[in-house]
């Protein structure tokens, strides 16, 4: 990927939906990662 047209901000996004999932125990234990979700959505936006 030469120029990803976005930079994943590590300060985190305002995304109540993801933030809520990220805080759930079963999501944490499963290995759920908000940055993977953000990466996917941003890739779909800039594909």
């Amino acid at each position: 990927d030469i120029h990803k047209r976005y930079t994943l901000t590590d300060s985190g996004y305002f995304d109540p939906f993801i933030k809520e999932l990220e805080a759930k125990k079963e999501y944490i234990a499963s290995g759920f990662r908000a940055d993977y979700v953000y990466d996917r959505m941003l890739t779909e936006a800039f594909m």
């Binding site: 999932l21 079963e26 234990a29 290995g31």
Partner: protein
Amino acid sequence: EYSKEKKVGEGTYAVVYVGTKYSTNRKVAIKEIKTSGFKDGLDMSAIREVKYLQEMNHVNVIELIDVFMAQNNLNLVLEFLPADLEMIIKDSSILFTNADIKSWLLMTLRGVHHCHRNFILHRDLKPNNLLLAPDGQLKLADFGLARNMGSPQEILTSNVVTRWYRAPELLFGAKHYTGAIDMWSVGVIFAELMLRIPYLPGKDDIDQIDVTFRALGTPTDRDWPEISTFSTYNKIQFYPPPSRDELRRRFAAATENALDLMCGMLTMNPHKRWDPTKCLTSEFFVELPEPTVPEELP
């Protein structure tokens, strides 16, 4: 367009033939999907193979050359790959070196990286799904359990990946896992390439948890936050993690970087487990020996 010359395999949902594409005289494998007897219509495995292989085009992922209907059967025309890594590992008459292992691992990781950057999970990585082409290229195959990484709140089944290669979060029934489950499988395959015997051969799902933690230590909330929320966590035996020296004894031929890479892929906590990019850019692939060029591999 194609001939079906010899039946070379039969699975639950497909019969595999070796054939030829007349126009190019190219040898092909034709996977004929059984359609009768499936009460829910076309089998999910066939749908997944078609769906995901159509989107990928990479030297380390098996090529779907064509798809056609014939006599009301769905036929997938795939590139012909006569060997797989399981054959190589099991055949003690075949000697292979660290450079060979490095080459196979590099190609496997490139294939997995391509799947993951397309947000596709393979979910059944194991030596006999890593096929070898006549030119030595290794290719990920059998996408019958693959799926895309799903929407954030989606529930994924934990009943995936062949047991010996199943990540600990799956053994505990996780439903919101990520591509980290594929990385665990690659880690176990790497160990198996170095040992030439299966590394975590559990007899059943319960034994698999025990075998895994006996070999690598039982994770705790400290190194894997919230692991104790898994209902099955409280019933397991506690084992200490192996020391570095113990790992050196187990993998005598492994360099420090090789051990780092393997431990990165076999990190218990999926959050911290190495992803394909971290593996591909690890020291292991830039230290000697260089990976064997594919044409010279056994």
